[in-house]
């Protein structure tokens, strides 16, 4: 591969992989607001 192609692939794919991991981690680490939300998994199950 040529140097310019290598630079393009490393820069582009590096940016995309970093951004994907960054935002997904941020979602997983985001604290629950405590307020009622849309996600039924969070709901208190009534027997």
């Amino acid at each position: 591969m040529t140097t310019s192609a290598l630079i393009m692939i490393v820069l582009t794919q590096g940016t995309v992989i970093t951004a994907t991991i960054y935002f997904f981690r941020k979602v997983l680490k985001a604290p629950s607001s405590g307020a009622s939300d849309s996600y039924s998994d969070n709901d208190v199950k009534k027997d």
Partner: protein
């Protein structure tokens, strides 16, 4: 209006479903071919610029509009748009958000059914030992090419099976149906894609020809040629790819987002789903088709033959070069990932209609799903029976290309200029788990509408070939009285057949143009049926309000 009991099961499930909506066949088949045809590595520059200036703003706008509409119990674009303004005509623009999905789903499910058939055939080892000519013959027989009007019995059966799977999942609802599928399909898709990408990166030189190496394929895909950056054709192609890949301008994002509550985050969710789609496209999508094909068939062959059909007519042959065991695994991984990519998108396309009829006509989930299925069958059959006449491509052009741009332009104008940027910006930031960069406020208001408007305008009047020099040639031609040299795919030329004239009958047979024009009228009829349904729903609302 019915009060929905639907909701997403979990935040990760929502993001996977949104990413699944965006990740489709285009990530693996359209993106690398577009890159090859538009400057290789240079293509990524206008692609990323379009993502930042048009893709991300549209994601935020659509997520915000959807959640805003959900607050009023609306889950499809006609009444989501209607709630944002006092001017009643906007709801008819919202019809695009249902029509586009049904039109695309009609032909997309057909391709999805090919991937299902090819997955099963790969698993059975039916493609082992076949050369390119035999694979070509197999595909042509499968879709019954060469017979004028096509009647592919097995392909129609596979289409019915695939459609039934879609309808069954949709009838299960948001959390039990769509979200469950996304949670299984997305990780498997990434796993299959990663396996094929690693196979591609580690194959290297095969010795089949002088330039038969996957590295040469990767180099071809990524080496920049900056002289092509001034070419509007490349910018148009890159912006078009962003539309396709993010599924913006369709109405699916609004629909999924409308099941959120007011304080749920949308800013970070949109970024997580959008970048995950980018990962699948740029990292995995670019690593499979083109590099492996160059590895075994050489660069010249790929330049000459790069296209959508390589997925079916070429890939099984390439996998076969890795030995029979890996060929079966790779075949299942490839067609399996395409099937997963397809079904997570087609399910999203079904939801706006489901949301609309459940909200407005109180139809049950089962009834809505069955009527959707019958409608998609009716809309899809012409693309199968008249595939060879160009009806399939015609659907793709109007519903999968033009409609997206028209609706995206309308919605961003509504959001930024009619609803207003003050309210719009507050809506995006409400409940946000990330700080939305302030620069995006003027971008959404000025840059994004201008960007999309330019795409629409240039698509309307695109001159022959569409290269930079062709624009000046075209203006000179017009000014000197010789008329405008229309590109065959410019919208105005397509509508009026300016380059050829209307020819429906030639040598005592109906021409392809006849079938193409009939399919247009059919799509137009479908659009107006939806307009009538929106009008009926609007009248019902007025009566209830009295």
């Amino acid at each position: 209006m019915a009060q929905t009991t639907e909701s997403w099961g979990s935040r990760v499930g929502l993001i996977l479903a949104m990413a699944g909506n965006a990740v489709g066949l285009g990530n693996f088949l359209r993106f690398p071919v577009q890159a090859v045809q538009n400057g290789g590595g240079t293509f990524i520059i206008p692609y990323l610029v379009s993502f930042l200036l048009m893709g991300i703003p549209l994601l935020w706008v659509e997520w915000a509009m959807g959640r805003f509409g959900g607050r009023y119990g609306d889950h499809s674009t006609p009444f989501i748009l209607d709630n944002m303004t006092k001017r009643r005509f906007w709801k008819y623009f919202g019809v695009f958000g249902i029509f586009t999905n049904m039109g695309v789903m009609a032909y997309y499910t057909y391709i999805e059914s090919w991937t299902l058939t090819y997955t099963i055939k790969s698993l059975k080892g039916d493609f082992l030992g076949l050369d390119l000519a035999q694979l070509d013959t197999f595909f042509n027989n499968y879709v019954d090419l060469g017979s004028g009007v096509n009647f592919p019995v097995w392909a129609i059966l596979a289409f019915l099976v695939t459609l039934t799977i879609n309808i069954y999942i949709l009838s299960r609802g948001l959390s039990a149906g769509i979200e469950t599928v996304a949670k299984i399909a997305m990780p498997l898709l990434i796993l299959f894609g990663a396996f094929l990408a690693i196979m591609s990166w580690t194959t290297g030189s095969t010795g089949r020809c002088d330039d038969c190496s996957t590295f040469i394929g990767l180099n071809f895909l990524w080496e920049p040629d900056f002289t092509t950056l001034a070419n509007p054709k490349i910018w148009l192609a890159a912006a078009g790819q962003i539309f396709f890949t993010l599924s913006v301008g369709m109405g699916t994002i609004h629909c999924y987002s409308s099941y959120l509550k007011q304080k749920d985050d949308i800013a970070l969710n949109a970024m997580a789903a959008g970048w995950m789609n980018g990962f699948v496209e740029i990292v995995l999508g670019s690593a499979v088709v083109i590099p492996i094909a160059v590895g075994y068939l050489g660069l010249d062959w790929v330049i000459e033959n790069a296209g959508f059909m390589m997925a079916f007519k070429t890939m099984p042959f390439l996998f076969d070069q890795w030995g029979s065991v890996i060929a079966v695994i790779s075949g299942v991984a490839w067609f399996g990932l395409l099937f997963f990519a397809g079904i997570t998108s087609s399910l999203a396309m079904g939801t706006p209609f489901m949301g609309f009829v459940q909200d407005e006509f109180n139809w049950s989930k089962n009834k809505s799903a069955i009527i959707l299925g019958v409608s998609i069958l009716a809309m899809g059959l012409p693309t199968i029976l008249f595939f060879e006449k160009g009806v399939f491509d015609e659907y793709d052009y109007w519903t999968g290309t033009v409609s997206l741009v028209v609706f995206a332009l309308a919605e961003v104008i509504l959001f930024a200029w009619v609803f207003g940027m003050d309210k719009g910006w507050a809506e995006i930031n409400d409940g946000a788990d990330m700080k939305v960069p302030k620069i995006y406020r003027p971008i959404i208001k000025y840059v994004t509408p201008l960007f999309i408007g330019t795409i629409l305008f240039t698509s309307l009047i695109k001159p022959l070939n569409g290269e930079l020099s062709d624009w000046s040639t075209a203006w000179n031609s017009l000014l000197s009285g010789n008329g405008w040299p229309w590109a065959t795919d410019s919208i105005i030329n397509k509508v009026f057949h300016l380059d050829t004239g209307v020819i429906w009958w030639e040598n005592d047979v109906l021409t392809d143009m006849f079938y193409i024009d009939m399919s247009r009228y059919f799509l137009l009829t479908c659009f107006f049926v939806l307009v009538a349904m929106v009008k009926a729903a609007s009248n019902k609302r007025k009566k209830r309000a009295l």
